[in-house]
């Protein structure tokens, strides 16, 4: 225990030098800006800004990259809240209640809450990193292909059954997403699927294209009429970027619950921030006394996923630091950079380069704190986006969307795909099919399928592998509850009305 504190102290000595403070702040601010742009999430952010780190020493480079990473996570939800366009998958859940809040004049509180929840999530996760990284990593490797498959099913079914009146529509949306995910060269056998002879499609359809299409383009499509008529009311007066006591009272428990969830999901290689934030959102919705408020500007629905996704970005460093394998797209880029700097990421980093490793851990505290401080005044500037008239704002959003999509694969085909998916999104909106399950389907579909096939090939084709471990069984229970709970709750509610309070006592049981 004393060792940990000594090491951490050494880490802080590294992270608190003026030079490192400068880099983490600069990285954080640049990351925030990149994260706000549609399509440019943390992975692209780190990749684009990577050349900047080439001239630095390894510690400074790593700390700067982490600053960019956290900054992009902070920034991603800014655009979710203000223009309903998530910068990345992890910021998807922030649109659900963040944007309605902005629409109803609570943008200041939304921005503040997202910053505060991110900050708390990040700080607690950093503490967890210091003390329980090793056990969490031992837990993470227990996830074999069967467990991964079930985890993804759990996340999908939670998201699909999120709106209880629309469970069927949710699943339709999920299946569309899974269908989109099958496009491309099958990674197991190399067979072309649904590529129609178009070479660009062999690499599959990037989920970011779908996100940008549905949100950025969708928002423009939806508002097209009101832009013409000039009916949209703009916010002209802005309050202080802060939350009320009541907001805080409602949110602190959800934040504390969502942080460990995000941290652990983040530590599973390949799971990532999108799953963490969507699971946290759904979790809070199920626990809430007013689940109907979710999606209409409930601040809890913003705080929970924000805490979870920042915690997951800290957790994602665990596989890299303990096993030497990347835990997310962003850490994959960071790992590449580490290798180039001559460092071997993995268990030996703490022994061979303790200053780098502990400096990095300490920078998690410093970085999150600085980003929290920087983001509050920055939000005061950003919130004024809402005063930009739509006829100016939307063309800019559209331009950014096209740039963002082109940046993903340098392919013009992606433009057409984006327009196509934008129209699909609009059609889904018209028939009230939610789009979030589809997006998650696109994100996890490929990995889920591979995991399923790997599991069956481990078990020689026996399905019993899916119930073999305690983790699998727990996940199956979660899946069953997530699908049945909204249905049962609805059924109880409909029974309760005529029967009055006959079996109301058992209301909270069952979960």
């Amino acid at each position: 225990m004393l060792d940990i504190f000594q090491n951490l102290l050494m880490g802080f000595q590294v992270a608190l030098t003026p030079e490192m403070l400068f880099w983490v702040t600069l990285g954080g601010v640049l990351g925030t800006i990149v994260g706000m742009l549609p399509g440019l999430g943390p992975a692209t952010g780190v990749a684009v800004l990577l050349p900047m780190t080439f001239t630095m020493g390894p510690t400074a480079a790593l700390i700067t990259m982490c600053g960019i990473y956290y900054g992009a996570m902070f920034g991603g939800s800014r655009s979710s809240i203000l223009i309903n366009t998530p910068g990345d998958g992890a910021a998807l859940a922030a649109t659900f209640d963040g944007y309605p809040m902005a629409r109803t004049g609570r943008a200041e509180a939304a921005l503040a809450m997202s910053g505060i929840a991110s900050l708390i999530g990040g700080l607690i996760a950093a503490v967890m990193m210091v003390f329980i990284a090793a056990p969490v990593s031992r837990f993470a490797i227990k996830f074999g292909p069967a467990e991964y498959f079930l985890l993804m099913i759990a996340a999908l079914s939670m998201t699909a059954s999120m709106s209880k009146k629309n469970v069927v529509r949710g699943f339709i949306s999920m299946f569309i997403g899974l269908m989109i995910a099958t496009v491309g060269l099958d990674a197991q056998t190399g067979t072309n699927r649904f590529t129609f002879g178009i070479m660009e499609l062999q690499g599959g359809i990037d989920f970011l294209i779908v996100i940008i299409a549905i949100y950025a383009l969708g928002e423009v499509f939806k508002s097209y009429k009101s832009i013409q008529e000039g009916k949209v009311k703009m916010q002209t007066k802005f309050g202080k970027i802060w939350i009320t006591k009541e907001d805080w009272k409602k949110c602190w428990r959800p934040i504390l619950r969502s942080t460990p969830l995000g941290f652990i999901i983040g530590a599973l290689p390949g799971a990532g921030g999108t799953m963490a934030s969507l699971m946290a959102y759904n979790n809070e919705k199920q626990l809430s006394k007013n689940p109907d408020d979710f999606g209409k500007g409930e601040i809890v629905g913003l705080a929970a996923p924000e805490a979870a996704n920042n915690a997951s970005s800290v957790g994602a460093l665990i596989p890299m630091l303990t096993l030497g394998i990347p835990g997310s797209g962003t850490t994959a880029v960071m790992m590449g950079a580490l290798l180039m700097l001559g460092l071997q990421p993995g268990p030996l980093l703490f022994t061979n380069n303790p200053d780098v490793a502990w400096g990095l851990v300490a920078s998690m505290f410093v970085g999150n704190l600085i980003l929290g401080i920087v983001n509050i005044p920055l939000a005061g500037v950003l919130v004024r986006v809402l005063s930009v008239p739509p006829r100016i704002l939307y063309p800019i959003v559209l331009g950014l969307a096209f740039i963002g999509v082109y940046a993903i694969g340098n392919s013009t085909l992606d433009f057409y795909l984006m327009i196509l998916f934008g129209m699909l999104g609009l059609g889904m909106e018209k028939v009230k099919i939610p789009t979030a399950p589809m997006i998650l389907g696109v994100i996890v579909g490929g990995t889920m399928e591979v995991a399923f096939r790997q599991a069956l090939s481990i078990s020689n084709g026996s399905y019993s592998i899916f119930v073999k471990s305690p983790i699998s069984v727990s996940l199956i229970l979660i899946i069953a509850v997530s699908i049945l709970f909204p249905v049962v709750k609805e059924w109880i509610a409909s029974k309760r009305k005529p029967l009055v309070a006959s079996f109301m006592d058992g209301e909270d049981g069952g979960v």
Binding site: I33, L37, L40, A47, V48, L50, P51, A140, I141, K142, F143, G144, P145, G184, L185, D186, A187, Q188, T189, G190, T191, M199, E200, Q202, G203, G204, P269, G270, P319, L323, G324, I325, P326, A332, V333, M335, G336, L339, M340, G342, Q344, P345, G346, P347, L348, R384, S387, V388, I392, I396, G399, L400, I403, Y406, A407, V450, Q454, S457, I458, N460
Partner: protein, 332 residues
């Protein structure tokens, strides 16, 4: 006025983003003038990735190349996704990629319609070897114990690798298994992982043995989490823990498997670009930085220029054809 400022800010932001994304202006002069895209056909941290990044780092450290050489990972299909993508770059002179036996294998086993003839060989750089590793608590202490178990029941050992079925990690073990006298090669249970997750799966006990590159798992072997049962080298290669792994031959299994690696350009890469990289790489392999990196990663230097590399490739291709045919994985 205030509105105007906001608009300007938004426009400026857009411009900055556009600039950052398109990679800025270009200098005029001799080749190479702009950035060189280095495509890695596999995930970060894998064998191809380590090799490519080491080449880039050495070229920059020795000042042989001063233009930026950003490395991008394009994993999938055992290298097939990147190979398909490179067909869009035919005739370009500013793209480099790295490949090894899977380039030939994915074509021979029918998983990719493209093969080595759809790329321009620039230079063969190094050779390394495969390794068969188990976790430290494994019941298998030697490679022969694994082979005995497989002889008794071909499905009893679940072995995985980071390349696709019918590609390198799969094949190198089959070559060893065949030499050890196992007959039902097609019954062996190979599980293919992506993004170099194989090591984590082995640590978690989801598979019994991992067939991989020697260098890929050196950190986990050094750390004591994994144990190397055998390498596919002719004689022990590399330093430290890697050098302590016994070869198949030492343990009475007469098999070797070479994992050559080399740089390629897209098909029809202009001759002056090929010549530039050939010469630059020939100079690079003489540098002490390169020798150090090779020793650290357990790579044997087997440099060959474009012409010779091409001849080698033709020969390798014939060799693999024979092996794949014997195990029934050759696409005819």
């Amino acid at each position: 006025m205030v509105k105007m400022k906001k608009m300007m800010a938004a426009v400026a932001l857009t411009a900055v983003a556009a600039l950052a994304l398109t990679g800025c202006g270009e200098k005029s002069g001799e080749y190479p003038t702009g950035k060189i895209d280095c495509v890695v056909p596999g995930g970060a941290g894998g064998g191809w990735d380590t090799a490519m990044r080491t080449v880039v780092k050495t070229l920059q450290d020795t000042d042989l190349v001063s233009v930026p050489m950003p490395v991008t990972n394009l994993p999938g299909g055992g290298g097939g996704v990147a190979l398909a993508d490179l067909q869009k770059k035919v005739g370009e002179d500013r793209v480099l990629t790295i490949y090894s036996p899977p380039l030939l294998l994915i074509n021979l086993n029918g998983s990719s319609e493209y093969g080595y003839e759809e790329l321009t060989p620039i230079a063969q750089l190094m050779t390394d070897y495969g390794a068969f590793v188990v976790s430290k608590d494994s019941k298998y202490k030697t490679i022969n114990e694994v082979m005995e178990a497989l002889k008794a029941d071909p499905t009893s050992v679940k072995f995985g690798g980071n390349s696709a079925a019918g590609s390198m990690d799969h094949l190198q073990f089959l070559v060893a298994a065949k030499a050890a006298g196992i007959e039902d090669l097609e019954k062996l249970n190979y599980i293919s992982f992506q993004n170099n997750e194989g090591a984590a799966q082995l640590l978690g006990g989801h598979i019994d043995m991992l067939s991989t590159g020697l260098a890929d798992v050196s950190a986990l072997i050094e750390n004591g989490d994994l144990v190397g049962l055998a390498s596919t080298a002719e004689e022990r290669a590399g330093e430290g823990v890697i050098g302590e792994i016994p070869t198949l031959k030492e343990q009475g299994i007469d098999a070797v498997f070479y994992n050559w690696r080399g740089l390629f350009g897209p098909k029809d890469m202009p001759a002056e670009a090929v010549a530039f990289w050939e010469e630059t790489l020939a100079t690079m392999v003489e540098a002490p930085e390169w020798s150090e990196a090779c020793a650290k990663n357990g790579w044997s230097q087997t440099f060959a220029k474009s012409e010779e590399f091409k001849t080698n490739l033709d020969r390798y291709n014939e060799e693999y054809k024979v092996i794949l045919d014997e195990i029934g994985m050759l696409k005819k």
